[in-house]
Symmetry: D2
Subunit: 409 residues, 4 copies
């Protein structure tokens, strides 16, 4: 057992950290200005484009694509072939500025997951048409899985139908929380639907590529998260698919493979979310420390009174313990595979967002009015991390699953 990161990971992390401090954090106010100046747009703002160019030049590009499952070859598209364990601390760094850093490194959801799906399950033609421009950040993408009318954590509930019709498939259904889909640059949607409702429970679903411009694709409306429309990274859309017809070769892998692809996609997706969430927690803790030292009330700094020191200590303890659990999960994914890391993936999916939520909440409390406003990143961090407890299956579904696994063990 050895808790020291290896040289490759340390090198990437150090460079990511330097980039964050030197380029990303200073760009935050610029980004705010650009957003304020173009309130009606859903596209990527110029400062993000500049950061992308700089990050790519700095060798901080597409690092999410793990070498372990034959993903990016080192040097290709900037991918470094990092293992999950090597990538984890880099992803954590990007969590410090979740609206800018992941996009700057081309490591932002949902594109990362979609690139992984294409990388692992796509045909050469699918890769050429969609994966290549995604790896170049020339286009963006969306993932259409969750539906408004059913509990989507139970995949058998999915109502969207994908029907074969000669050389085509016809898609009918309604999705929401299609993150990024408000962005007109999101050129392709990966849509989950049922090809065979009568098949075995986990063989009913398939995934298919739907170009944005296909007739019948209708962006119904943007959704908000605690008042935020997340317009900076393409928002979250409700999307209707009304007899949408695409060529049969747009299917990803085979009919009935949808559930398996989703599972393959969700494992890394969940761990990436957790890595970034740790960075969000570190940023909140860092703001808490700063505020506690700088702010005075009743003749003393906040750090010198009441529960503030305890909050800071508790945050440090939580972040240290959960970081190790995330890293071990990454290591398991690298060494024994995602399937055998299921308990650990569920554990971090439950434990990390909720711990970070509490840390951010306390940081907000310590900042008073500034904490709930846009004068600090805290309220927006809160909305983001709070949503993680719902996205990719609510905590309670994972808790019950993890509990059942223990009972069987």
């Amino acid at each position: 057992m050895d808790f020291a990161p290896d040289a490759v990971s340390r090198d990437h992390t150090d460079r990511a950290r330097a980039f964050l401090e030197g380029r990303v954090l200073p760009a935050e106010p610029v980004f705010e200005e650009q957003l304020a100046a173009t309130p009606d747009e859903w596209t990527v703002r110029p400062v993000v484009r500049e950061l992308q160019t700089a990050a790519r030049a700095a060798g901080l590009w597409n690092l999410f694509l793990p070498g372990a499952h034959g993903g990016a070859r080192p040097g290709v598209h900037g991918g470094a072939g990092l293992t999950n364990l090597q990538y984890a601390p880099v992803a954590e760094v990007t969590g410090w500025s979740p609206r800018l850093a992941p996009a700057a490194f081309n490591c932002a959801a949902p594109d990362t997951g979609n690139m992984e799906v294409l990388n692992d399950f796509g045909t050469p033609a699918q890769k050429e048409r969609w994966l290549e421009p995604l790896l170049e950040a020339r286009i963006r993408s969306a993932f259409c899985m969750t539906e408004p009318d059913v509990a989507s954590s139970d995949a058998t509930n999915i109502g969207t139908r994908i029907r074969r019709d000669g050389d085509h498939y016809v898609i009918t259904g309604r999705k929401w929380w299609s993150t990024g889909a408000m962005n007109p640059d999101a050129a392709v949607f990966i849509v989950m639907g049922k090809t065979d409702p009568d098949a075995a429970r986990h063989r009913q679903q398939s995934m298919i590529l739907v170009p944005r411009e296909t007739p019948g694709v209708r962006i119904v409306r943007p959704l908000t998260v605690f008042g935020y429309d997340d317009r900076d990274h393409g928002g979250h859309a409700e999307v209707a698919f009304e007899d949408v017809r695409v060529p049969a070769e747009n299917l990803i892998a085979g009919e009935g493979d949808g559930f398996a692809i989703a599972q393959a996609r969700l494992g890394p997706g969940r761990i990436h979310h957790c890595m970034r969430a740790l960075g969000m927690g570190e940023r909140a803790l860092s703001l808490m420390v700063e505020r506690a030292s700088a702010r005075h009330a009743f003749g003393r700094t906040l750090a010198e009174q009441g529960v503030v020191r305890e909050w800071i200590a508790e945050a440090r303890i939580q972040l240290e313990a959960l970081r190790l659990l995330v890293l071990k999960t990454a290591w398991l994914m690298d060494t024994v595979g995602n399937k055998h890391a299921m308990t650990e993936i569920q554990a971090i999916k439950i434990a990390v967002p909720r711990a970070v939520q509490q840390i951010v909440d306390r940081a907000i409390q310590l900042h008073g009015g500034a904490g709930v406003s846009s004068d600090t990143p805290l309220a927006e961090l809160y909305a983001g991390v709070r949503s993680l407890r719902i996205a990719d299956g609510p905590d309670e579904v994972h808790l019950a699953g993890l509990g059942r696994a223990q009972l069987r063990a």
Copy 2:
């Protein structure tokens, strides 16, 4: 001891409840439409005006003004002369629809507090000019106390200066979280500042009336709460006072009375917030019950699995216990006065918002994506109740104060 509400209270509560169900809840979608149609306005929307007319006709107007301290005479301006204890369940009803019901009944902060200040401390001329139109809802008002640069829970920190200059006072300073001030109908601001920084700790502050149109009053910007601008009730403004000159008769009570007036204002303000928060909690619980019964996953309703029943039970327990504590606090304010209810006021200020925050958070969790979006009132309720833990002094200041009081007892 008797836990049955009296006939007057029951009658008002029943009518308020009927009005809520018959008029207010059906008006919520109308209100959303009107807000969406006029995204740039900060004024009261037409549907609110209609509700106000109806509520006034229904005898549900200005009920917040307690008879106990000689406030509204029954029949005048619709005031019923209710005690705090009688008013409490009425206020709770308005919490079910916090954006519409309090405004409909002319019982919305910060106007209520401002009306109380004018009622209790105003000169006849001040009452005629500002209290009368407020009681009629012909104008709105703002309360300018919190400052961006200091911990305002410590009143000695206040930096705004109110300097006597002949027959005038000149006000210089910067305030924020001036709720309602973005609304151009907010015709008058009650401003807290220091007239004598060398006086005893709690005699340095004074309050003064500043008409919105006075030269030197500058609305700097609106603030957001999480992502909400609360535009529907006038938002929250940062306001600069740059050598603002008002007649000396605009001072409320005497020089040095500011802290005492603030205390007098905050007692009822805090209990009103708690009463409404209970209603917010009841609405969240009611949505939780509904969702748990209606939603299916893995072959059963949500109510039949995992922790859902426990969440519902815990919410019921919390609301029942805390409601009684709020009612007892109201009773103490009525019978022995606000000063002798200080421990209880602090207790509910701490306990109610945080309990309701948890209830709303769990209701959000149970609603998944719908919970964080605008498809339910939950995310906005969350932002509102979360802010209460900061407004009027953060929880931790009250906890420390309450703790000290116990140690002295």
Copy 3:
């Protein structure tokens, strides 16, 4: 609504408080000495007998028996005919010294519940033989309901059989947690068993009086609670009933009435436990306040550092809110009956012990080594209040029940 206790209640509470302070608390060290001097005895110690004589003389005797359901007539056996609401604060006072005060006032479980059962359901002969000496504290009693082999919160699980055989019933089964049964003065056991396993779910059970000396009654062993054998009030026994034959007239009420009697007994039993638990919490808080002021570390009192003030404030808030819920429950039992107070009884059964458990736990923490030892009453209070979360049905059964009731409402 009125939160002031009436004169009768206040008078009894004041006298109980004076008795506690003047007689009971000073008797605690004497009691410890008597226990240490007779380590093998399970009987009532002499100091308790003296307190009983004094309490009876002071008119503080059998106050638990409510006048509401025709119980003790004022003056008879010292009973004052108090309502539950009037009795509640008296019971709270006894919680300050749970090993001495309830026994001193002849208000200790399980005798109280057994006296209520006999009072409400007993025949004149049963009352004469068992109720009279219990009201005089000449004998003690036990209640044999819980069984070691099954989840006894589900009454259909009960395995003990009560079979009619001519003019007798024959009892076979095994019980545990028969509180008080180690005391040889516990002259009678009320035993719950099934007379008809084929009857409707809640008509299978009956209750029967079993004199201790009946052949076949075998005290198997004493049980401990966190290492305590609770020998001072008769301990907790495992009891085997091996073909125990008693006259048919020993049945309480009719065959099949057992479940209903148990429910009738448990309502008041649970509220009495909660009332006393509040007193336990107040004592722990009082010890906490004292310690925080008296103890120094790192140059300041404990009260002046860290989370101590917050713990004290939180304890005060919890106790105030939950006391009101207990009082309202008592009021409901008095005014609309136990059945219609079911939600509230469940609520306090869940909420009070767990809140008091946390208060006691924090008081222990503040006392360090003294807290877990016998140098303060805290560790023993902890064991007592912790057990309440299991006794009379575990929290989780009540939470689920309360949740279901909300879902139906």
Copy 4:
């Protein structure tokens, strides 16, 4: 970074586990019988002696003594020269049966800490006289640090005096929580006292060896932890030192070195406690899983209802995350030294016992009456793990320290 234990650690852990399951767990009921048969004795019981012989033969002896600081040479006294990281999972195994396994492996506090002190700071003569028989388990020892009258977490509070008098030191003071000291086999006490109250804050204290039989050493009384006297491993004593005269060569290291020795002793002591506590948590979780599957109520197993699955899942998550933090702390102690692992040692000292406390508490709740009694090990595990939150400095002192360190960082 690598999360796989090395071969040496795995081998020792596997053998420890086999010994636990094959020898220790089956010996638990035997141990109970021997305790019940000799209620007045404080000495090691025969079954422990037998286990010690078997463990030593199995190469599971004195494993706690780390090779890292030149401790036991492999092969000597059975010590294996394990690093902290290698020893950690072995210690965890012993936590499954904390009354038998640590003693069986000669790895029980306080002897382990005392052996470390002698090993690291003792003179050859001190080692020969006391360390050798301790490594052979021929004698036992006690550590006398905590005092009844002061907050001992602040070392400057210590009241015991150690005065030089010619060739002797004379010790005067009163200690308590001297674990093991009730055992007549505890032949030597390591006593902390002040040699120079006027020296710098952390140079006032010294440690000295006091043979049990020295005149003036008086065992005042045993202390209980909740209701347990922990007689099986020598209990916890209050000890008076009344002009106790020992030769000057009994001083450990030099005058003024006491604080430094205590710190050196506490680091490993705290991590050993945390390792064992994880094993206690695992045992509780294992009992919870077993009970949840075996017990039925309301027609289903406990696992199939309410919050039980969630409790089990939460326990698993906590144990996984905290184990990693403990292991990382061990690794830091091995690689950069105890001083540089201070933040992590504080973190686990705070986080592990309290998490395990909650797991044990829930296991108790799931077992109902059996949980609080001696029919399961749970209540005794609870008392043990609860005490850890007080021993070696209460949580709050460590929280404040950890918080301050973050604020300085």
